[in-house]
Symmetry: C2
């Protein structure tokens, strides 16, 4: 887990101003992977840091643009953010409880970038979402 000064340095390296909301939000994303915006707001405020929800939305957009966090949008869920960037990894989403876990790509570094027919598109990224049941939800599903 990065320290407060690590976080600060990340901001500086991205040529971003270092402000209290940014430090708090970025630290929170590192502490709570896959958190949605509301959870992030709650977590930041729990640290006794007073921020408007607007500021959090702004900061998350800026951090995403700067590549410091990654925004993921699982089907049927609001936007979530994570700090793991730069490696091409994907996600499993539980159909039962919505839990999200990271998975590395089975094939290679740029795994699914090969579509059978790309229709002339210039493809630069592939988002993969696996859907299934987490270990905890599997027993419940069998009962029904």
């Amino acid at each position: 887990m990065p320290t407060a000064s690590d976080i600060e340095q990340m901001l500086r390296e991205a040529s971003l101003r270092v402000t209290r909301p940014r430090l708090a939000v970025l630290a929170t994303v590192h502490e709570h992977p896959h958190a949605d915006t509301d959870s992030i707001i709650a977590a930041v405020r729990a640290e006794m840091i007073d921020v408007s929800h607007q500021a959090v939305y702004d900061v998350l957009r800026v951090l995403t643009t700067a590549g410091l966090v990654r925004r993921i949008q699982p089907p049927g869920s609001v936007a979530r953010y994570e700090s793991r960037v730069g490696d091409n990894h994907h996600h499993v989403v539980c159909r039962g409880c919505g839990m999200i876990a990271d998975v590395d790509c089975a094939v290679g570094d740029t795994p699914c970038l090969i579509a059978s027919d790309d229709h002339g598109f210039d493809i630069d990224e592939a988002e993969v979402v696996y859907l299934g049941l987490c270990p905890e939800c599997q027993p419940n599903a069998r009962i029904n």
Copy 2:
């Protein structure tokens, strides 16, 4: 393109009541792949069929549950619907204009169902979204 009676039969085979809104919505999804809800409402009304937007939302949910249409939610876009179901195919989304095209899976029928570490999840589906630029948007991107 399925005829009106094909559409009707699809509904019956799914044990769904045959109603005007359902016929119209299902036909529209066949005619306009990747349409969002608003476009579907507009297209249905253009056929002089008067439906409430609520009915369209209902019908789409019912058809999705019955497996007659598939709901897709590209990042940064509202929900869209398509009639191609049952085959495991994916989508390319253009970063420029938002256009969506179908792509078959490069690897096989159940392509990316193999995650390197599945965390104990029971995975039954993989959604893949390729992001890039469509042929039309590529020249514009180069200018910037």
